[in-house]
Symmetry: C2
Subunit: 131 residues, 2 copies
Protein backbone atom coordinates (compact mmCIF):
# COMPACT_ATOMS: atom_id res chain seq x y z
CA UNK A 1 0.00 0.00 0.00
CA UNK A 2 1.34 3.42 -0.92
CA UNK A 3 2.19 5.68 2.02
CA UNK A 4 0.98 9.03 0.73
CA UNK A 5 -2.31 8.75 2.59
CA UNK A 6 -0.40 8.52 5.87
CA UNK A 7 1.22 11.86 5.13
CA UNK A 8 -2.17 13.50 4.72
CA UNK A 9 -2.85 12.97 8.40
CA UNK A 10 -1.92 16.01 10.44
CA UNK A 11 0.01 14.21 13.20
CA UNK A 12 0.48 16.30 16.33
CA UNK A 13 3.92 17.21 17.61
CA UNK A 14 3.96 14.02 19.67
CA UNK A 15 3.19 12.05 16.52
CA UNK A 16 -0.33 11.10 17.60
CA UNK A 17 -3.95 11.77 16.67
CA UNK A 18 -7.11 10.90 18.62
CA UNK A 19 -9.18 8.06 17.21
CA UNK A 20 -12.88 7.46 17.77
CA UNK A 21 -14.05 3.84 17.45
CA UNK A 22 -17.72 3.57 16.63
CA UNK A 23 -19.59 0.29 16.50
CA UNK A 24 -21.03 -0.84 13.21
CA UNK A 25 -24.79 -1.22 13.40
CA UNK A 26 -25.99 0.61 16.48
CA UNK A 27 -23.39 3.34 16.15
CA UNK A 28 -22.39 3.30 19.78
CA UNK A 29 -19.13 5.15 20.42
CA UNK A 30 -16.99 2.52 22.13
CA UNK A 31 -13.60 4.06 22.77
CA UNK A 32 -11.42 7.04 22.06
CA UNK A 33 -7.74 6.18 21.92
CA UNK A 34 -4.61 7.32 20.09
CA UNK A 35 -2.71 6.27 17.01
CA UNK A 36 0.66 7.08 15.61
CA UNK A 37 1.61 6.51 12.00
CA UNK A 38 2.61 2.91 12.60
CA UNK A 39 -0.63 2.09 14.42
CA UNK A 40 -2.68 3.48 11.55
CA UNK A 41 -0.65 1.63 8.95
CA UNK A 42 -0.99 -1.66 10.83
CA UNK A 43 -4.70 -1.10 11.32
CA UNK A 44 -5.27 -0.47 7.64
CA UNK A 45 -3.08 -3.35 6.53
CA UNK A 46 -4.30 -5.99 8.99
CA UNK A 47 -7.91 -4.96 9.47
CA UNK A 48 -7.36 -5.24 13.24
CA UNK A 49 -7.31 -2.02 15.21
CA UNK A 50 -3.94 -1.02 16.66
CA UNK A 51 -3.45 1.92 19.00
CA UNK A 52 -0.55 3.72 20.61
CA UNK A 53 -0.67 3.51 24.39
CA UNK A 54 0.41 6.84 25.84
CA UNK A 55 0.80 5.40 29.36
CA UNK A 56 2.77 2.32 28.33
CA UNK A 57 4.46 4.10 25.42
CA UNK A 58 3.98 1.20 23.05
CA UNK A 59 1.94 0.02 20.13
CA UNK A 60 -0.78 -2.45 21.04
CA UNK A 61 -3.35 -4.41 19.18
CA UNK A 62 -6.75 -3.86 20.74
CA UNK A 63 -7.72 -7.13 22.39
CA UNK A 64 -4.22 -8.61 22.48
CA UNK A 65 -4.66 -9.34 26.20
CA UNK A 66 -8.42 -9.35 26.66
CA UNK A 67 -9.35 -11.06 23.41
CA UNK A 68 -11.79 -8.23 22.72
CA UNK A 69 -10.36 -7.11 19.40
CA UNK A 70 -11.79 -4.48 17.09
CA UNK A 71 -12.12 -5.34 13.40
CA UNK A 72 -12.07 -2.28 11.21
CA UNK A 73 -14.79 -1.71 8.62
CA UNK A 74 -13.95 1.82 7.55
CA UNK A 75 -11.52 4.60 8.37
CA UNK A 76 -12.51 8.24 8.10
CA UNK A 77 -10.55 11.46 8.52
CA UNK A 78 -11.95 14.80 9.62
CA UNK A 79 -11.81 18.20 7.95
CA UNK A 80 -8.72 19.30 9.88
CA UNK A 81 -7.04 15.98 9.14
CA UNK A 82 -6.18 15.49 12.77
CA UNK A 83 -8.83 13.07 14.04
CA UNK A 84 -9.71 9.58 12.80
CA UNK A 85 -13.07 7.87 13.00
CA UNK A 86 -13.17 4.09 12.73
CA UNK A 87 -16.21 2.00 12.13
CA UNK A 88 -15.50 -1.26 13.94
CA UNK A 89 -16.93 -4.61 14.78
CA UNK A 90 -16.33 -5.15 18.50
CA UNK A 91 -15.41 -8.77 19.14
CA UNK A 92 -17.18 -10.08 22.25
CA UNK A 93 -19.19 -6.91 22.69
CA UNK A 94 -16.84 -5.51 25.33
CA UNK A 95 -14.63 -2.53 24.50
CA UNK A 96 -13.86 -1.21 27.99
CA UNK A 97 -11.26 -2.57 30.40
CA UNK A 98 -13.90 -2.27 33.13
CA UNK A 99 -15.83 -5.06 31.39
CA UNK A 100 -18.45 -2.79 29.90
CA UNK A 101 -19.66 -2.47 26.32
CA UNK A 102 -18.42 1.10 25.90
CA UNK A 103 -15.86 3.20 27.75
CA UNK A 104 -18.46 5.98 27.94
CA UNK A 105 -20.53 4.38 30.68
CA UNK A 106 -20.82 7.45 32.92
CA UNK A 107 -23.46 10.07 32.32
CA UNK A 108 -23.81 13.50 33.87
CA UNK A 109 -27.01 13.61 35.92
CA UNK A 110 -27.72 16.42 38.37
CA UNK A 111 -24.06 17.41 38.61
CA UNK A 112 -22.92 13.84 39.21
CA UNK A 113 -21.29 11.26 36.98
CA UNK A 114 -23.48 8.18 37.19
CA UNK A 115 -22.43 4.76 35.83
CA UNK A 116 -25.43 3.90 33.69
CA UNK A 117 -24.15 0.84 31.81
CA UNK A 118 -23.67 -2.59 33.36
CA UNK A 119 -20.44 -4.52 33.79
CA UNK A 120 -20.80 -7.48 31.43
CA UNK A 121 -17.78 -9.38 32.63
CA UNK A 122 -15.55 -9.03 35.69
CA UNK A 123 -12.21 -7.52 34.60
CA UNK A 124 -10.48 -10.04 36.87
CA UNK A 125 -11.81 -12.75 34.58
CA UNK A 126 -10.97 -10.84 31.42
CA UNK A 127 -7.34 -10.21 32.25
CA UNK A 128 -6.45 -13.28 34.29
CA UNK A 129 -3.47 -15.23 33.09
CA UNK A 130 -2.86 -18.95 33.22
CA UNK A 131 -1.29 -19.86 36.57
CA UNK B 1 -24.64 23.66 40.04
CA UNK B 2 -21.96 22.16 42.29
CA UNK B 3 -18.49 22.03 40.76
CA UNK B 4 -17.26 18.67 42.04
CA UNK B 5 -18.17 16.91 38.80
CA UNK B 6 -15.80 19.23 36.93
CA UNK B 7 -12.95 18.06 39.13
CA UNK B 8 -13.63 14.43 38.19
CA UNK B 9 -12.54 15.16 34.64
CA UNK B 10 -8.90 14.35 34.12
CA UNK B 11 -7.90 17.55 32.31
CA UNK B 12 -4.63 17.29 30.42
CA UNK B 13 -1.67 19.50 31.25
CA UNK B 14 -2.94 22.08 28.78
CA UNK B 15 -6.29 22.07 30.57
CA UNK B 16 -8.17 20.38 27.72
CA UNK B 17 -9.90 17.12 26.89
CA UNK B 18 -11.13 15.85 23.51
CA UNK B 19 -14.87 15.87 22.99
CA UNK B 20 -16.84 13.72 20.58
CA UNK B 21 -20.18 15.13 19.42
CA UNK B 22 -22.57 12.47 18.23
CA UNK B 23 -25.91 13.21 16.66
CA UNK B 24 -29.05 12.12 18.45
CA UNK B 25 -31.05 9.70 16.38
CA UNK B 26 -28.83 8.36 13.63
CA UNK B 27 -25.75 8.40 15.83
CA UNK B 28 -23.50 10.01 13.25
CA UNK B 29 -20.26 11.32 14.74
CA UNK B 30 -20.28 14.97 13.73
CA UNK B 31 -17.20 16.59 15.22
CA UNK B 32 -14.34 16.07 17.59
CA UNK B 33 -13.21 19.24 19.30
CA UNK B 34 -11.76 20.33 22.64
CA UNK B 35 -13.10 21.66 25.91
CA UNK B 36 -11.55 23.24 28.93
CA UNK B 37 -13.27 23.44 32.28
CA UNK B 38 -15.09 26.65 31.43
CA UNK B 39 -16.38 25.25 28.12
CA UNK B 40 -17.77 22.18 29.84
CA UNK B 41 -19.39 24.24 32.58
CA UNK B 42 -21.02 26.56 30.06
CA UNK B 43 -22.19 23.64 27.96
CA UNK B 44 -23.81 21.94 30.93
CA UNK B 45 -25.37 25.13 32.24
CA UNK B 46 -26.67 26.55 28.96
CA UNK B 47 -27.46 23.39 27.02
CA UNK B 48 -25.54 24.87 24.08
CA UNK B 49 -22.23 23.27 23.20
CA UNK B 50 -19.15 25.41 23.85
CA UNK B 51 -15.64 24.42 22.83
CA UNK B 52 -12.13 25.73 23.32
CA UNK B 53 -10.50 26.68 20.05
CA UNK B 54 -6.85 25.66 20.15
CA UNK B 55 -5.98 27.70 17.06
CA UNK B 56 -7.76 30.88 18.15
CA UNK B 57 -7.08 30.27 21.85
CA UNK B 58 -10.56 31.24 22.89
CA UNK B 59 -13.82 29.82 24.09
CA UNK B 60 -16.50 29.66 21.42
CA UNK B 61 -20.09 28.64 21.24
CA UNK B 62 -20.57 26.19 18.39
CA UNK B 63 -22.62 28.01 15.76
CA UNK B 64 -21.93 31.51 17.05
CA UNK B 65 -20.86 32.55 13.55
CA UNK B 66 -22.47 29.96 11.33
CA UNK B 67 -25.75 29.62 13.20
CA UNK B 68 -25.24 25.85 13.23
CA UNK B 69 -25.35 25.37 16.98
CA UNK B 70 -25.28 22.08 18.84
CA UNK B 71 -27.86 21.52 21.58
CA UNK B 72 -26.68 19.05 24.16
CA UNK B 73 -28.88 16.11 25.13
CA UNK B 74 -26.44 14.18 27.29
CA UNK B 75 -22.83 14.31 28.45
CA UNK B 76 -20.82 11.17 29.05
CA UNK B 77 -17.32 10.60 30.43
CA UNK B 78 -15.07 7.68 29.61
CA UNK B 79 -13.36 5.18 31.91
CA UNK B 80 -10.11 7.17 32.04
CA UNK B 81 -12.05 10.36 32.70
CA UNK B 82 -10.20 12.17 29.95
CA UNK B 83 -12.62 12.11 27.01
CA UNK B 84 -16.18 13.44 26.80
CA UNK B 85 -18.97 12.17 24.57
CA UNK B 86 -21.88 14.49 23.85
CA UNK B 87 -25.17 13.50 22.37
CA UNK B 88 -26.30 16.56 20.43
CA UNK B 89 -29.00 17.89 18.23
CA UNK B 90 -27.29 19.57 15.28
CA UNK B 91 -29.14 22.73 14.33
CA UNK B 92 -29.44 23.04 10.55
CA UNK B 93 -27.90 19.64 9.95
CA UNK B 94 -24.45 21.06 9.22
CA UNK B 95 -21.63 20.52 11.70
CA UNK B 96 -18.59 21.06 9.47
CA UNK B 97 -17.12 24.39 8.40
CA UNK B 98 -16.86 22.93 4.89
CA UNK B 99 -20.66 22.94 4.73
CA UNK B 100 -21.04 19.21 5.25
CA UNK B 101 -23.16 17.29 7.72
CA UNK B 102 -20.16 15.77 9.53
CA UNK B 103 -16.50 16.69 9.74
CA UNK B 104 -15.66 13.06 8.97
CA UNK B 105 -16.48 13.24 5.28
CA UNK B 106 -13.31 11.57 3.98
CA UNK B 107 -13.01 7.83 3.81
CA UNK B 108 -9.94 5.72 3.16
CA UNK B 109 -10.42 3.82 -0.11
CA UNK B 110 -7.54 2.06 -1.85
CA UNK B 111 -4.93 4.12 -0.01
CA UNK B 112 -6.66 7.41 -0.82
CA UNK B 113 -8.81 9.73 1.25
CA UNK B 114 -12.01 10.20 -0.73
CA UNK B 115 -14.62 12.85 0.11
CA UNK B 116 -17.76 10.73 0.24
CA UNK B 117 -20.28 13.19 1.72
CA UNK B 118 -21.76 16.13 -0.16
CA UNK B 119 -21.36 19.83 0.59
CA UNK B 120 -24.83 20.92 1.70
CA UNK B 121 -24.13 24.63 1.73
CA UNK B 122 -21.30 26.74 0.33
CA UNK B 123 -19.11 27.92 3.23
CA UNK B 124 -18.98 31.34 1.58
CA UNK B 125 -22.72 31.59 2.21
CA UNK B 126 -22.47 30.20 5.73
CA UNK B 127 -19.84 32.62 6.95
CA UNK B 128 -20.61 35.71 4.93
CA UNK B 129 -21.11 38.86 6.95
CA UNK B 130 -23.41 41.75 6.24
CA UNK B 131 -21.63 44.34 4.07
Amino acid sequence: MEDGWLNTVNWAQDGLVPVVAQEVGGGRVLTVAWMNREALRKTAESGEVHYWSRSRRKLWRKGEESGYAQKVRSIRLDCDEDVLLLEVEQVGGIACHTGRHSCFFRKLEDAQWVAVDPVLKDPADIYKRGT
